[in-house]
Amino acid sequence: MDIRLEGISHSYGDTEVLRDISLEVTSGQIICLVGPSGCGKSTLLRLLGGLERPAAGRVLQLGRPPEGCLNPLTYVFQDFALLPWRTVRGNISLVLEDHGIRGADAEAIIADVLARTRLSDFAQALPRQLSGGMKQRVAIARALVVNPAVMLLDEPLSALDAQTRELLMDDLVSLWTRAPFTAVYVTHNLAEAVRLGHKIAVLSRRPGQIREVVEISKPLKTRGHGDPELDAVQKHLWELMREEAKAADEELLDV
């Protein structure tokens, strides 16, 4: 299932956040949205998954979600959004219960997704007992369990420290390599973008418009630290964003 954005514009009150965004999300690919803070990239993600209504333009699903898909558009949030009163298992079963998957069926599905995200030993733990990285892995497991057609990741690694971020990026790459998923990945971290993105869309400062879409053909698996090709892309992205980020920063000061 692909997703197409057609001429999306959005504003909060008098503040125009997004202007005329058109973009195609191709299945089996990760597309990263980068841009200076306040450029509306998280808003765009909420519009994509139907958590907000755009002021103008349309979000279209092209084709049918694959068989066995319980929740076609599934989010992973920056603040994890785990229910603190449920265990790891309970948090995952939460999203299955409403689809009538209970008992032995649910057990099997949950055991499988916990194994895939290497959380099997923590099934009975409460969120408060987990580190930030572990919490985000639980959130990723919860997103995977509904077999999403498109994963919508809203700065999933931004609340984590640098080492944990590296580890989780490796996890995401190996998950994708084993079973390619479609994802829209919002981040302000260019290193994350060049590591995980097949396509990277650079947004301008508010009102957000697409400045450029960069494609990286190198397979995710072979991307590593200090790769000159990726460094060149990252440098190019930074040059695109530099002025925007500076202007955006100063703009916030005189509000």
């Binding site: 599934t74 949030f77 959004a81 939460l94 219960e97």
Partner: protein, 263 residues
Amino acid sequence: MSDPQEVRFRGGGFAPTARRGVGLVVFVLLIALAEWGTQSGWITPLTLPKPSDVLATFGELWQSGLLAKHLVPSLTRLVVGAALGVSIGMSVGVLIGLFSYVRAGLVPLVAALFPIPKIALLPLFVIWFGIDEGSKYALIAFGTFTPTVVATYGAVDNVDRSLIRMGQSFGLSWWSIVRKIVLPGAMPGILSGLRISLAIAIILLVAAEMLGAEYGIGAYILQAGSLYDLERLFAGVVTLSLLGVVVSTLIGLIEKRMLRWRA
């Protein structure tokens, strides 16, 4: 250069921790002081009865079976009235928390009802619900209703919106979101409201019984008071205090069970 000085410790404090038995020591000390004062004649028998005499009266009350005779109707009134008030209050509170129209319509009404001294309405309740148990249930229910409503809708307001957004993003039904996200999230606030509601329930219980009941702790205290029988008066008051402690302990246990995830 002057001599090295150790950095003065400035942190600490502002973090109360559990200290077992201190509460008990305070009770024992106060009672011992009263006993000593009354024994030595420093406190006259008219000012305060001897704690040992109060204890003896309490023992008699227990042995004669009068305690049960007074306590059973009181507890029944408390349980029925508070259960009515708290359950209706929680439902209304959740509705106010979830629906804009209910909120706009009922919040001013609750604000208008809250400051009314419910005891002043007892004559009205007697007419509406009869002189018997009905009016007492209604008084306690009404008295616990308003604080429960206020605590509940405040608690629902404070539920983390990002969790609700998460529920919606996974396509959970409205009812699932309320049951699995809103209610558990509001539980800490609802339970701390319950402490206040139940204390109010005990106060209203006694007030209702003083105004017309043959048996009940309130009736017992009123009889003793009008005879200036301070020992019996105090025996009744001590029963009420114990009731308060028991209720508070029960809520503590419920909190411990239901809010284990907070720790």
